[in-house]
């Protein structure tokens, strides 16, 4: 309905291969950025910034990572938490070992370390497929968490096994971690990192690497026969995916919670992120964000629902109810749209473009 495409023609491949080819989409995207970068920091409450926006962005990043591995390259993984933990603890070690290292270097360095670990645990994927692989990835999950828990070196021998982010700044004097850091600063920093990496992800999936991933996902034999190298393609997927998860983990530890223990990244975290990409939509960048928003907001909603409805239920009851409703909703969503929110979004867009025609 809102789309106007007559007279929108491309006279170069560059223009034709742009990410957003329709003017209305560009406007829409601009609007979103305006809201994210200007309105939200200006007007939203501490609670919204700290308890909703930050985890939303960070988990969206992790979901992005998992979606690259599972949604695009078709390698089902339950090890997300482990790679996030790797990111978090690497960041901690980097930051504490090299106190004057810039936070960006710390974060991305952590990502790279996570990527290396990802490659290591990705090697079996050459022989192991499907659910066998999924279970195999649990090995990395449990092993890594155990490792960070077990060896004091990772936590600089803190008694509690908890790590806390040292205060760090950007542009010299703006604190983004530690007690002095303002939520707005944290938010803006996280947002920028996430936006940049989202763009990177988009670029990868629209270029040869992405096509190779999807080829392996859709029909690995054919992919191999047309010359796509299985191992390196899969390892690339693991590396990039773990890099994203690692950065997410680092952000989680440094900017969101400020201090974490390994258990923050246990297998439930892996499942949470997996939910995000399934609900959000496999093989879709947008899906990672939609899914993250959904999974973050749902529990909050469920938590407050009783009070809103004016019932008072015992808290443990509430948590059990949460479990139930959450499970039910997952199933409901899978039944309504197995391809997730992103697909719904896409369908809606198609409808609008064809409007008033049905197809």
């Amino acid at each position: 309905m809102i789309y106007r495409e007559a007279g929108v023609y491309k006279s170069t491949y560059r223009a034709d291969q742009a990410i957003l080819t329709i003017p209305q989409d560009r406007w829409f995207m601009t609007a979103i950025f305006a809201v994210a970068f200007l309105l939200i920091p200006a007007f939203s409450s501490e609670y919204w910034l700290g308890a909703i926006m930050l985890p939303f962005l960070i988990l969206a990043l992790a979901a992005l990572g998992l979606n690259i591995l599972t949604g695009y390259a078709g390698q089902l993984s339950l090890g997300t938490g482990g790679f996030m933990a790797t990111g978090a603890f690497s960041a901690y070690k980097l930051a504490t070992s090299f106190p004057d290292m810039h936070i960006l270097l710390v974060i991305f360095g952590a990502g790279l370390i996570a990527a290396a670990v990802g490659i290591l645990f990705g090697i079996p994927s050459l022989r192991i497929k499907g659910f066998y692989l999924a279970v195999a990835t649990l090995a990395s999950q449990f092993f890594l968490i155990w490792m960070f828990d077990k060896f004091g070196w990772f936590t600089n021998y803190s008694a509690s096994g908890v790590i806390s982010a040292p205060p760090m700044t950007i542009f010299g004097d703006i604190f983004v971690t530690g007690p002095q850091a303002s939520l707005v600063a944290k938010y803006m920093f996280t947002l920028s990192v996430v936006v940049v990496l989202a763009l990177v992800a988009k670029n990868l999936v629209r270029s040869n690497t992405g096509r190779e991933w999807m080829a392996v996902r859709d029909m690995d034999i054919a992919a191999e026969i047309i010359g796509i190298p299985m191992l390196s393609t899969k390892l690339k997927a693991f590396a990039v995916s773990s890099f994203f998860c690692g950065v997410a983990g680092a952000l989680w530890a440094f900017l969101y919670t400020g201090s974490v223990e390994p258990l923050a990244f246990d297998v439930n975290r892996s499942f949470q992120v997996l939910f995000m990409i399934i609900i959000g939509g496999l093989g879709s960048i947008m899906g990672a964000f939609l899914g993250s928003a959904f999974i973050i907001l749902l529990p909050i909603l469920l938590n407050n629902a009783p009070n809103l409805l004016g019932l008072n239920i015992r808290t443990d009851m509430v948590s059990h109810l949460e479990f139930m409703i959450f499970g039910a909703l997952i199933i409901f969503f899978l039944i309504v749209e197995p391809h997730g929110l992103a697909r719904l979004w896409q369908l809606a867009k198609e409808k609008l473009r064809l409007w008033p025609f049905p197809h």
Binding site: Y3, Y13, H359
Partner: protein, 653 residues
């Protein structure tokens, strides 16, 4: 009115290359994107091509045939020829070899510039019949690499020749350009000829350019228009709207990727200036309605509601008449919800001016587009005057008229109702055909259109009834205007073609071609199974459907004192679709009346007997050129006729 230096196409081109060198002159969707050429680039391309043609020996006054889909290089071929003072002769790219042979020979073609292997093969097939063809130049080399005939040339090679030639003879092209002027022949266009062999209409630079300029002046077109070149290059309309007017106004022409992508390309380009014969508008509308059939209930009712609202107020608003505030608000809402998106997805949302001509257009089709706010107008003209005779002025547009005389055009109606005109566009002559030239052009410069018509009293617009020679009489003496009635029939989306008979007979009868898509859909919605055209055409439900249309037409006719006597008494639904490949239609899809009458004599006799069924055998040509025999039993149905004065149903014959 033609200021001297701008009176030939090469000069126009040079002018634009100077005036707006970096303004896009022509686009072609190729390899997935719109390849573009600016005016200065086009001018260079044309120069080298002209040089190449010259070195192949093309001289002033000689003819260059141009055969293929709308392609930039073929358009450049025209200008290149004109640069040398030679005469481009575009041919219909889908005509079969034999049809081409006649024109190639009749026009004394020396060099042929063609699109691809398909055309080359046709030319090679008929070459022995047209020995005067010295060279064939092809645009797309695909599949031609093993054709080793010396007289076959790749377009690029010719341009390479051209470069050398131009270097060796620096001033040659300029000298040739200088020799040309306004009254020199610009182009030869062959009229498809509803009867007999096609005739080559010779048009001078002034004919073409002045007419084109008048059109531009009258409609206020600018260099910023976008048009889509999708109609046959051999057809005068394409030559005027996408060649002549583009060269005069300097606007950009876009060539679609191929036949199957036209609608999509139309949407991409979103032209501001558009031309299409009625059948195209008709098809689009049919498509819209069919697609909306599958829409959800709510959406459909919304669509219908707003379309209804548009029907009531849209035209008024377009003509700038006053409507109530609520109506105009509702219309704005509708523009957001329906009209805007609809126009956009059809690719018509940017249109400033759209023409239709060639045939009468169905009132409701016409209204449909105007009510959406698309400024579509009818014009009346013919090849002999480079299209423009009458155009509908903005604000006074009616479905059943063709408007008022265009700039510099005089029109008169002679005693037996035939339309005559004088205009700057009046053609030079029919090529090598003085007698028909004489029979069409009076000594004092008046041209007989061969159409019968009259000026409408209140609007002062010209109304066309029919081909003058087709207007005949029934035995009971009433006037018989078959085309007029056929059009009324064709206004029903179910009816694709209709052929009427009745001249020198007691009453009129009709052949009907149903529209397979429309009727097919209608049938599916009623779960009528059918295996194809023949089967569907034979079904009694379909006969009922058509019978109803015929009845409406008769009722309509009965109101007109002059034509009421010629109501349709009996009709058949033809067992095959009339087809250009079988010679039943012209390449512009006009019915070859006499040919059809000959071919289906059996059926006509049956119509005028009291049989109610008739067996018929027909030779048919398939798409791949093979021929076969088609046999069918065709039902004959009576139609309700009304008495002319007071409208009460009387039983059919």
């Amino acid at each position: 009115m033609s200021n001297k230096p701008q009176d030939t196409f090469p000069r126009l081109l040079a002018g634009h290359a100077k005036l707006r060198p970096n303004h896009t002159a022509i686009r072609e969707k190729d390899l997935g994107i719109w390849q573009s050429w600016t005016w200065s680039q086009v001018s260079r391309e044309v120069q080298t091509l002209a040089g190449g043609l010259a070195s192949l020996g093309l001289k002033r006054g000689e003819k260059l045939a141009i055969i293929g889909d709308n392609r930039p290089r073929l358009y450049w071929g025209m200008t290149a020829a004109q640069t040398l003072g030679a005469i481009p002769v575009p041919l219909y790219q889908d005509s079969v070899a034999d049809e081409m042979a006649y024109i190639l020979d009749n026009a004394d073609i020396k060099i042929a510039l063609v699109e691809d292997q398909e055309q080359v093969d046709k030319l090679l097939e008929v070459r022995d019949r047209c020995p005067q063809i010295e060279h064939i130049i092809f645009d797309d080399p695909r599949g031609l690499r093993h054709y080793d005939q010396p007289f076959l040339h790749n377009f690029e090679d010719v341009q390479r020749l051209g470069q050398e030639f131009n270097q060796q003879n620096v001033d040659y092209l300029n000298n040739e350009m200088a020799k040309s002027d306004g009254d020199e022949v610009a182009i030869m266009l062959y009229t498809s000829g509803t009867t007999g062999k096609p005739k080559g209409v010779v048009l001078t630079n002034d004919n073409v350019i002045i007419t084109a300029r008048n059109g531009i002046v009258r409609e206020g077109l600018t260099a910023d228009e976008d048009v889509l070149a999708y109609l046959p290059m051999a057809w005068v309309g394409d030559n005027l709207f996408t060649y002549a007017q583009a060269f005069v106004a300097g606007f950009c022409v876009s060539c679609p990727e191929n036949g199957s992508t036209v609608t999509h390309n139309l949407r991409e380009i979103g032209p501001t200036y558009y031309f299409a014969p009625p059948r195209v508008y008709e098809n689009i509308l049919t498509q819209v309605m069919i697609r909306m059939e599958d829409a959800g209930k709510l959406k459909r009712s919304m669509f219908n509601y707003f379309m209804e609202h548009a029907r009531k107020n849209g035209v008024k608003i377009l003509n700038g008449e006053k409507v109530s505030v609520t109506d105009s608000l509702l219309y704005k809402l509708g523009r957001f919800l329906v009209y805007g998106p609809l126009k956009d997805s059809l690719g018509l949302s940017r249109i400033k001016l759209a023409y239709t001509a060639g045939e009468a257009i169905g009132p409701e089709i016409f209204e449909f587009y105007r009510s959406l706010g698309i400024n579509i107008k009818q014009l009346y003209g013919q090849t002999e005057c480079m299209v423009f005779l009458c155009v509908q002025p903005d604000g006074e547009v009616f479905a059943d008229t063709v408007g008022t005389p265009a700039i510099d055009v005089e029109i008169k109606i002679d005693d037996n109702g035939e339309i005559l005109y004088r205009s700057p566009g009046v053609f030079h002559s029919y090529y090598k055909n003085p007698e028909s030239t004489a029979s069409t052009k009076t000594p004092d410069g008046w041209v007989l259109t061969g159409d019968a018509g009259f000026f409408d009293e209140q609007s002062g617009h010209l109304k066309i009834i029919d081909r003058a020679k087709d207007v005949g009489k029934l035995n009971n003496g009433t006037m018989f205007a078959p085309k007029y009635i056929e059009n009324k029939l064709k206004f029903y989306s179910f009816i694709k073609e209709a052929v009427l008979f009745g001249n020198d007979r007691d009453h009129s009868c009709a052949f009907i071609n149903i529209d397979l898509e429309a009727v097919g859909n209608w049938a599916e919605r009623r779960n009528l199974a059918y295996s194809g055209y023949i089967d569907l055409a034979g079904q009694s439900e379909v006969y009922e459907l058509i019978k109803d249309c015929v009845k409406k037409v008769n009722k309509d006719l009965s109101k007109d004192s002059r034509l009421g006597g010629s109501q349709i008494n009996r009709f058949i639904i033809l067992h095959k679709e009339l087809d250009a490949d079988d010679g039943e239609l012209t390449r512009t899809r006009k019915v070859r009346r006499n040919f059809v009458a000959e071919r289906y004599k059996v059926l006509i006799d049956a119509l005028y007997s009291d049989l109610d069924e008739c067996h018929v055998k027909t030779q048919v040509t398939f798409e791949d050129g093979r021929t076969g025999l088609l046999e069918a039993d065709v039902k004959i149905s009576n139609a309700e006729v009304y008495s002319v004065d007071n409208i009460t149903a009387a039983s059919g014959v």
